[in-house]
């Protein structure tokens, strides 16, 4: 055994990309070690795409609205999955720590909560990539529809939905920190509460007037409305884009604050040592 050489371990207060990378490595190791986890990532997006692909084919001949833009339902289902997988990418990676009772170890290291959050966000990119990209590519030969035909607006929609997913994911992590693993199902169903008012497959104008006000408070409703504007009218809806950016900023700040608040509460209650299955 060697004598203590504290110089081995840097001591400082700053942000460390190395620690973010360490946490990403932890989740990548986990994905690599479990093929069912990887299959699960791709399974639902693929099934959804196949179902809505056939539905689109049927409606193309029976609905003048869908006939105007053949891929409108397929684009919607894929973009919705971007948001859902973005949220799951944050909250399921977080849940992995709770399932393995590892939070105590993690937060006794110099890992900052925001470094951890950044690693969760990176992992949501990985999870969305594994889940949605093969689905989008497969839709091209199967249904002759490429979501990439949306062009640059696709990047904007993707980013806006990912950010909303992260915001929700962070708030959900906070709630699970507060209520323990008994509340883990929130991670799986919370986003679907927003599905009807996000107007994924239909215009916001279909909703009752009072629900339209709720819809316009969601970045997702602006994104899906914007997506239809691009597909039907071939113009980029700047008003929806600006509204979604502003709302995303509010949601992300809110999600981050909820997470940090419950994190601090967990330290007050001693929950970091006890959290587990």
């Amino acid at each position: 055994m060697t004598a203590l050489t504290t110089a081995r371990v840097p001591i400082g207060d700053g942000f460390s990309p190395a620690r973010v990378f360490a946490m990403m490595l932890r989740y990548l190791y986990l994905l690599r070690s479990s093929w069912p986890r990887t299959v699960e990532l791709i399974y639902w997006p693929l099934i959804q795409m196949i179902l809505w692909g056939f539905m689109s084919r049927f409606l193309m001949t029976n609905s003048s609205w869908v006939a105007k833009a053949g891929g409108v339902l397929l684009a919607a289902v894929m973009l919705w999955d971007v948001m859902f997988r973005g949220q799951l990418g944050v909250s399921v990676s977080f849940l992995e720590e709770m399932w393995s009772r590892n939070l105590g170890h993690l937060f006794a290291t110099p890992l900052r909560p925001y470094e951890w959050v950044i690693s969760l966000i990176f992992m949501s990119f990985v999870r969305v990539g594994i889940g949605v990209l093969p689905t989008a590519l497969l839709a091209i030969p199967l249904y002759h529809y490429s979501i990439f035909s949306l062009g640059l607006p696709l990047l904007a929609f993707f980013a806006l939905l990912m950010i909303m997913g992260w915001a929700m994911g962070l708030a959900i992590c906070g709630l699970i920190l507060r209520h323990g693993l008994g509340a883990e199902s929130i991670a799986w169903f919370a986003v679907f509460i927003l599905a009807p008012v996000s107007a994924i497959y239909y215009p916001v104008s279909i909703l009752p007037w009072w629900l339209q006000y709720v819809a316009w408070c969601l970045p997702s409703a602006h994104v899906f409305e914007g997506m239809r504007t691009v597909m039907f009218q071939h113009t980029f809806p700047l008003d929806h884009f600006i509204a979604a950016v502003g709302l995303d900023a509010v949601y992300l700040a809110g999600g981050g604050l909820v997470f940090l608040y419950f994190m601090r509460q967990a330290r007050q209650r001693g929950a970091l040592m006890q959290m587990g299955e």
């Binding site: 203590l4 504290t6 070690s33 393995s100 105590g104 006794a108 601090r264 330290r267 001693g270 040592m273």
Partner: protein, 252 residues
């Protein structure tokens, strides 16, 4: 006198109406092995959690390496580490993967060499590529110890370090800890209710009851002070509230 590694003043933790830790005052110099000894619910694990920053105190202060733990936690954490049977390492990751992740979190230079050296010292070389969840309790304890020593901590906090180990493995772990402290000059604070372990490892024992330190001294001093033959009998006296046969002033 050298500055203490750890100073705890008026440390208190309340959970609602329950006072889990009640105004603890103690300090530890460099290079000693000390113990928090007490029954279930005495406040040992709560105290360790506060020292690690995992639990916020209701009142009081913790100074580690001259820094306020509450305000400069991230300057302190790289210099300490811990092991506890109540916190697991991720089960699906192999031992090597876990050590790599934690080594990177501590930003250890020459990590590969460090892991190889620890694996050799702790005799876990043959388990490095096995999933951590598939190890026996004794193997997991050694792996947890490897994680706890990755950053060569100057303060090592151990919660029941040999709980659920067979006597042979328990003895091996104790020997290893003795060697580590002697060779590294580190300070070790352990929470335990294993009297034999405390008698063997510790030069300083803080007896806890209902969140307070009710007595303190070396195992020999405590045994003599209570007029008993073993530390276990002293523990029982304190746990059952037996009066001191010949009370003397408790150390500090």
């Amino acid at each position: 006198m050298a500055e203490p590694v750890l100073t705890v003043s008026r440390l208190t933790k309340r959970f609602g109406d329950v006072v889990a830790v009640d105004g603890l005052d103690f300090d530890l110099p460099r290079g000693v092995t000390a113990a928090l000894l007490g029954g279930n619910g005495a406040g040992k694990t709560t105290t360790l959690s506060m020292l690690l920053g995992l639990l916020l105190p209701s009142d009081g202060a913790i100074t580690l390496f001259g820094e306020n733990m509450l305000t400069h936690r991230y300057r302190v954490l790289p210099r300490l580490n811990f092991s506890s049977p109540y916190v697991d390492l991720p089960h699906r990751l192999t031992v090597r993967q876990n050590l790599i992740v934690y080594g990177r979190l501590y930003r250890i230079s020459r990590l590969k060499d460090r892991i190889a050296s620890l694996a050799s010292n702790l005799q876990i070389e043959d388990m490095l590529d096995r999933p951590t969840g598939k190890l026996s309790a004794g193997q997991k304890t050694r792996v947890a110890l490897a994680k706890a020593l990755l950053n060569e901590p100057e303060l090592l906090l151990l919660d029941e370090p040999t709980a659920s180990l067979d006597p042979d493995t328990g003895d091996w772990v104790r020997s290893y800890l003795e060697t580590y402290r002697r060779d590294s000059g580190a300070t070790i604070l352990l929470a335990s209710h294993n009297m034999a372990e405390v008698e063997r490892l510790c030069s300083d024992v803080m007896m806890m009851k209902r969140g307070r330190i009710v007595d303190r001294g070396s195992p020999g001093d405590l045994v003599a002070r209570y007029g008993r033959a073993t530390l276990e009998q002293v523990f029982l006296d304190i746990a059952r509230g037996t009066e001191l046969p010949a009370p003397r002033e408790a150390a500090q």
